[in-house]
Amino acid sequence: MTNQTTYKVPFTILIVTLLVCFLGNISLGSVSIPITSVFKSLFATIDNDSWHYIIHNYRLPKAFTAVLVGSGLGISGLLMQTLFRNPLAGPFVLGISSGASLGVAIVILGAGIFGGNLATLLLSKWSVVIAASLGSFLVLLSVLAMSLKVRDTMAILIIGLMFGSITSAVVSVLSYFSSAEQLQQYIFWGFGSLGNLSWNELFIFFCIYLLGLFMSIISIKALNTLLLGENYAKSLGLNINQSRFIIIIATSLLAGTITAFAGPIAFIGLAIPHMVRQVFTTANHKVLLPAVFLFGAIVMLICDSIAQLPTSDYTLPINAITSLIGAPVVIWLLVRKRKMLF
C-alpha cells in the first residue's frame, strides 16, 4: 500500500501536541511549580530542592508511564481489532486483564488467609506486579495453546472471553471470603495508577514495551494483508498462523506489562484506534500504527493531568477519567461523521 496522501501535516500537529501535553503534564500537580522552574529543572539543578525532587522522581516517571500506557494500549487495541475484524475488540479480549486481576486478587485477597509475616510480604508492591504478570501470562498461555489447535480466529476470541468469565468468577469467590479492607485494596488496584513507578521499575517496563512495539511494527504488512480477510491473505502468501502468533504475543507483551505496572486501564485500547480512524480515514497500518501511538500517548497525558486535579491534594482514579473524557469524544466523532469506518 502506498501513502498516496503523505499525512505530513497531521503527524506534525500530533507530535507538537504530544510535546505540549508532556510538558503540561509535568507542570501540573498538587504542588504548584511555576512553568519556568519546571523547564529549568529539566536541564539543570534548581535552587528549590523539593521542586527538583518532585519533578525528577515523581512527575517525570509518571509522564513517561502515561506515554507508554497510552501508546501501548492503543496499539494492542488496533492489533486485536484488525486480527479479529471486530470493532469491539480491545487489548483485553484475550483475557489478559482478567488474568492479571486474578493474580492480584489471589495476592491481596488471599493474604488474609495466610496471615502474619507472609501477608506483609505478599502485599509489597513487587508481589502485586509479579502476581499480575503471572496471572496474565498463564491465561494468555492457555489461550495461545488453544489458538494453535483452533483454526478459526473467531473461536479464539470466544475462548478469550470464556477465560475472562472463569477468572472473574474465581475473583468473586475470593471476594466473598475477604474482609472489607482487603476488598478496598483490591478495588483500588482496579482503579489503575500511573504514579508510583521508580526509574528502575520504569526501565523494566520500557524494555518489555519495546519488545512488544517491535513485534507490532514487523506485523504491519501482515495486518494490511489481513484487511482482505484470512482466505485472501493466505492466497497472497501470508503465513497466517505465524502472523497471528506474533500479533497475539505483541499484544500480550504490551497489554500485559501495562496491566502489571499500572493496573487494568480500560477504554483507551478500544477507543484510540477508532478516534484515529475517524481523523485519518485510512485503514493502512503504516499510517494507523504511528498515529495510534501518538494519539494514545496524548490522550493518556491529558487524562492524567485531569485526574490529578491540579493544585488540589486529591487524585481521581485514572480509569474513571479515561472513560469520562474519552467516551464522549468517540460518540461525538461517530455522530459527526455518521459512519463507522472500520
Binding site: K221, N224, L227, L228, N231, S235, L236, G237, L238
Partner: protein, 264 residues
C-alpha cells in the same frame, strides 16, 4: 517446450477430491484429469452441491486432495509453499474483503504483497503494474474511491484488478458473476475473455451462467454426477454432456440455441 505447443499452466492427474475425516472419507469427484493451457478462458459449470467449490479449493491448496496430484506450472502443488504459490496463482473469492475502508488503489496494491519488502513499500515497478491492472479493468476513475462507496459490479472489477496486480500465470475466480445483473454478468465474463487474450493468462472461473459460458469460453469443465469432463464448448454440446447437468424432468438443453429451456 516448443513455441508451437502452448504451455500447460494447470494440470491434474487422476485427482480425487473430497473431505477426509478421521475414519471415513467423502469422495466428491474422482478421476479428474484436466489440463489448462496458457491464455485460455475456462468455465467450470455444474449443479449446486456437485463439488465445484471443492474442486476450486483443492486446486488453490485450501484443502488437500484425497488422491492424485495437481501441477501448477509443472510444479506439484503440495510441494510449493504458499509464498511460491502466491506468485503463480491468484484468486477472486465469493467473500467480500474484510475491510472496505481501503481505497481502490490500496486494495489493488495489496496484490503486490508477495513481492514487496517487510513493511510493504511499493516500488516504481509495483506502481506501474497496479496502474496497468486498473487500466485493463477500466477502473482508473475509481482509484481514490473507498471500497464501501462501490457497487457490487465495481467491487468485482476491483477484485479482478487485484488478482491481475498479483502478476500470476493463473487466475481462479469462484462465481464472479453472483449478485450481478444481466449486463454486468456479461460485462465481467467478457472482461475475463479479453484479459485472457491480451495478457496470455489462464483464467478459470466457476459459474451458473451456462449460456454465457458456452458462448465465451475456450474450454469448459463440466461436473455431473457421473464424471468431470473438460473439452471445448462445441464438443461438449455434441457429446450431449449438458443434458446430464440437471434432472431432465424440469429443464432440458436445447442444442440448437445452446441454452436451457424450462419444461412447461
Amino acid at each position: 517446450m516448443t513455441k508451437t505447443q502452448p504451455h500447460t499452466i494447470l494440470k491434474t492427474e487422476s485427482l480425487t477430491i473430497g473431505y477426509k475425516q478421521k475414519k471415513h472419507q467423502t469422495v466428491v469427484a474422482d478421476d479428474v484429469n484436466i489440463a489448462l493451457q496458457q491464455g485460455e478462458l475456462v468455465g467450470l459449470v455444474g449443479a449446486n452441491g456437485i463439488g465445484k467449490s471443492t474442486l476450486l479449493r483443492t486446486l488453490t491448496k485450501v484443502q488437500p486432495p484425497i488422491d492424485g496430484s495437481v501441477f501448477i506450472n509443472d510444479k506439484l502443488l503440495e510441494n510449493s509453499s504458499y509464498l511460491e504459490l502466491s506468485k503463480s496463482l491468484s484468486v477472486v473469492l465469493t467473500e467480500q474483503p474484510a475491510s472496505k475502508n481501503l481505497t481502490v488503489f490500496e486494495l489493488v496494491a495489496l496484490g503486490r504483497q508477495p513481492y514487496t519488502n517487510w513493511v510493504g513499500n511499493l516500488s516504481e515497478n509495483d506502481i506501474s503494474i497496479i496502474e496497468k491492472a486498473l487500466l485493463q479493468t477500466n477502473i482508473q476513475q475509481l482509484k481514490d474511491k473507498k471500497c464501501f462507496e462501490l457497487s457490487d459490479g465495481q467491487l468485482q472489477k476491483v477484485m479482478i484488478a487485484r488478482a491481475l496486480a498479483q502478476d500470476t500465470h493463473l487466475i481462479i475466480l469462484d462465481e464472479p458473476t453472483t449478485h450481478l445483473d444481466m449486463y454486468h454478468k456479461a460485462y465481467i465474463l467478457k472482461l475475463l475473455k479479453t484479459l485472457a487474450k491480451d495478457t496470455n493468462k489462464t483464467i478459470l472461473f466457476s459459474s451458473h451462467e451456462i449460456d454465457l459460458t458456452i458462448q465465451l469460453c475456450d474450454k469448459m469443465i463440466v461436473m455431473t454426477h457421473s464424471q468431470v469432463i473438460s473439452d471445448t464448448p462445441c464438443n461438449l454440446i455434441s457429446k450431449g454432456v449438458f443434458n446430464e447437468l440437471f434432472p431432465e424432468d424440469m429443464i432440458t438443453f436445447d442444442e440448437k440455441t445452446g441454452s436451457f429451456r424450462v419444461k412447461k
